[in-house]
């Protein structure tokens, strides 16, 4: 502690040497953050940098392996979120945790109801909520149903909820991710009033322009550790982006281009609305309709995404997670309806079912293998059949050809070096890397013409990672078109022939992976460089 600091200005939160390990991975390492009271302190970093783990530690959801947490100068040790709440910490989650069919008042008091002889004391609750709303400028009608509220109002309810529980330190986990720009402005106005009321706000984000406009102090996290604490008045978005991404970008290996002239997959004008798919009005062209949506200020998950992937080309999509990558995959796979067209080898497949698309030669390595890629409680050979249940060698007539499926699983095990006792082992018995190698082998089976590889090496060990990269390169050399979506810049730059950056559902830049600078990549990914001032998307680089 500085000797000259007055006793009243003890830091609201002090994290020292926080380290958290998960099996095989260090999620946080020697994190040091000091948050002054009455300030908005931003914590920025890429997805996977360790922000979420850090916040879970601060909110008592996980225990750090090492390090100390001090709240207002007192050392604390949280075992559950209740301990954190008791210490005056409140968390506003990215995904709202509200009961839609309850009123604002009921949601706010839920779990901390004031009662008179066992009956909910609505008058007392309403008075307290009104007082909180007026002192902090959080205007919400306590008697409205939450399901009738907009996103911005719901967020205010979440903030009221934590204030109602007496929080003096608020953690906001990517609060702007779900908001449109006007709502972001309103949120920032609310945050300024909270600050004026003496509250401390910890603001987690990767949107640098927003961070710079609201934060009083910024801490940057990269690869699980704090790399810098900066003053927003003395730093530019570009410098911040560089700190986030790191100043050393990998140089791609020199290699021959295998890109051909034949287009394997062509996507044009892909647009997806946030609030559900509505069919096109009859006779309206897609472009006109989507322009209308934009004019109305609707939030679009995908906004006029167009690109071509040629045979033998790996097209990488860089972007901070949650900017439309999952939606893009779901639209191409036919799992979620969207406007625009998708063509595979010249055929318009926009109206095809997922099954038909797969049969036509689309392979899919899902971003979350446990959620979308595997039947954990089924054997490896059954997992080999998954997604290929209508094709040779897994099927013959109405039957599943068990012998052929098992034989082909053995082939994958041998070719892709899946370490397993046998084809009858349950998928859950395998390590993440071996599960992933099985998925890669499966999706490369049946001569696909186009492969979606979403985070193909996430959560796998280094050896498996190198093997998967080699398989992707070999398939590319054999003429496979690949859409690579990843948060790992090594992977993106090392594998891609073309690199697009996605930001808020738009492809904002097309870059040459052999000649990309960290600040430009980081700038596009975080919105620090806006698409309009740079080369427009879709332009040949």
């Amino acid at each position: 502690m500085n000797a000259d600091a007055p006793a009243t200005a003890r830091p609201a939160v002090e994290l020292e040497g926080i380290t958290k390990r998960f099996p095989g991975v260090v999620a946080n390492h020697d994190i040091r953050i000091t948050v002054e009271p009455g300030t908005v302190h931003a914590i920025v970093g890429e997805n996977g940098a360790g922000k979420s783990t850090l916040m879970k530690i601060l909110y008592g959801m996980q225990k750090p392996d090492e390090g100390t947490i001090r709240i207002n100068g007192t050392e604390v040790s949280f075992r559950t979120p209740s301990d954190a709440i008791a210490a005056g910490i409140g968390m506003v989650h990215q995904h709202f945790m509200l009961a839609d069919n309850f009123t604002v008042l009921e949601n706010v008091v839920l779990g901390a109801e004031p009662t008179t002889v066992g009956v909910l004391d609505t008058a007392r609750a309403r008075a307290r909520i009104r007082e909180l709303s007026s002192t902090h400028g959080l205007q919400v009608d306590p008697d409205r149903l939450v399901e009738d509220l907009g996103v911005g109002d719901r967020q205010r309810v979440e903030i009221l909820k934590v204030l109602y529980r007496g929080a003096r330190i608020l953690i906001l986990d990517e609060p702007t991710a779900v908001l449109v720009p006007q709502e972001v402005d309103e949120l920032f106005q609310n945050l300024r009033e909270l600050k004026a009321g003496g509250l401390t706000v910890i603001f987690i984000s990767h949107k640098l322009d927003e961070v710079l406009s609201i934060a009083d102090a910024i801490t940057v996290i990269r690869r699980g550790t704090t790399v810098a604490s900066v003053d927003p008045r003395e730093v530019t978005a570009r410098q911040l982006a560089e700190l986030m991404v790191g100043s050393e970008l990998p140089t791609p290996e020199t290699r021959e281009s295998t890109v051909t002239d034949t287009v394997a997959l062509s996507v044009s004008g892909l647009t997806m609305e946030a609030d559900g798919f509505r069919p096109l009005p009859k006779g309206t062209p897609v472009a006109e309709y989507t322009a209308g949506l934009r004019a109305e200020g609707r939030r679009l998950l995908l906004d006029d995404v167009s690109f071509d992937i040629h045979r033998g080309e790996i097209l990488g999509i860089a972007g901070v997670e949650g900017n439309g990558q999952s939606e893009l995959i779901e639209a191409i796979m036919g799992m979620r309806p969207a406007h625009g067209t998708v063509e595979l080898a010249g055929a318009d497949i926009s109206s095809w079912s997922t099954l038909k698309r797969r049969e036509a030669g689309i392979g899919y390595i899902p971003e979350d293998r446990h959620r979308q890629g595997l039947l954990l409680e089924a054997s490896l050979w059954e997992n080999r059949v998954l997604g290929h249940q209508t094709r040779k060698p897994s099927r013959s007539g109405v039957w599943i050809d068990r012998r052929a499926a098992k034989a082909d699983t053995q082939r994958i095990i041998d070719e892709y070096d899946v370490r397993t006792p046998g084809v009858d082992t349950l998928a859950l018995a395998l390590s993440g890397g071996n599960q992933q190698k099985l998925i890669v082998g499966r999706e490369m089976s049946g001569e696909p013409v186009f492969l979606i590889a979403a985070h193909p090496t996430r959560g796998v060990d280094v050896g498996a990672q190198a093997a998967i990269w080699d398989h992707l390169r070999a398939a590319r050399a054999a003429g496979l078109a690949v859409l690579l979506i990843s948060a790992d810049l090594d992977e993106l730059i090392g594998l891609s022939d073309t690199l697009h950056v996605i930001y808020r559902g738009r492809l904002v830049a097309r870059l040459d992976p052999s000649d990309v600078t960290p600040e430009r990549l980081g700038g596009y990914m975080t919105g620090a460089i806006s698409g309009s001032t740079a080369e427009p998307a879709g332009e040949e680089a």
């Binding site: 799992m335 997922t354 099927r395 039957w399 006792p421 082992t425 959560g459």
Partner: protein, 379 residues
Amino acid sequence: MPAGLYRALLTVAGAAIAIVLAVVISSVAISVAGASPEAAFAALFNFGETERAVVNGVTTMINRSVPLFIAGLAVAVGFRMNLFNIGVEGQYRIAAICAAFVGAQFSLPAPIQILVIIVVAAAVGGLYALIPAVMKVTRGVNEVIATIMLNYIAINLAAFLVRGPFTGERAKGQLTTSTPTLPESAWFPNLNGLFEMFGLPAPRGGGLWGFLVVAILLGVAVWVLLERTKFGFEVKASGLNPMAALASGVKPKKMVIAAMVLSGAIAGLIGLPEILGDKHNFGSNFTPGLGFLGIAVALLGRNRPVGIAVAALLFGFLDRAQGPLQFANVPPSVIAIMQGAIVLLVVVANEITSRMALRREERRAARQLGRDTPVEVAA
């Protein structure tokens, strides 16, 4: 030991422990009811003194097991996809009365007559199950609630039909109403020959229901369908991981409708053993509750045809003892307590043993591969 054998042994051991515990619990219940547990269990295993009595006892037990087995299969088809078809109860009753009525309207050679009745029963059951399936895929109505409501409708509709439009002539002195009696070509031949082959006397009454053969064939067919076909694979995938199934091109709505209709079609056959083999009509004293018992049987049999067969026989064995227990001065409701206890305990045991088997498999794979600890980034 191969993983499959280990899992099977573990399951059997779990079930055995569960049954022993159920016996203990039932003993307490019997003692509380003021009877002697020893007498009760003696009655349970006492099939009688004479050969004829034993044959009768065995026949009662198997005849009770046949519809329970079919009911278990019906419920299991839904369970495989995490669909809880509670509507088996209503589906089988409405199917039974329709089949009994339609079957009595004409007379064809026996195989055709019986086949038509079976098809009508399956079709009615399947169509009745289509209602909650359509409600689920179009409006997201939970199938549990929809099928419970449809049960009330079916049960009361059947009661109305048997008294009204579908009622047949009442024989002199008959107290119950029923549908017209089926022509003799629809009477399913019994299997009493089996006993006679071993030199045993034929059981009294309707004898050993011939529908047993149909039930066995049905069990084999369901097993083949679920374990060997593309459709079965899609059902399994949808049940284990709906998201992965969707990403693999399995259409979830189609699967819900197919599984529900199949479940209902099988449910439609539950009442046929009794109608074709014994009563030859659908009367107001038609056996109720088989659909609900089917849920217990499917749970007990872990949704697998062989397991369901064992569970159905166990239930049949217990139900047979209703009469002997009364002679032994034990309230026969003890049987219901015992069945309930067995189902609850076996479900718990299944959960424990399947976890043990999974963990063993993980350890085994890890041991065989040396290191390779799973690496997950929980960021």
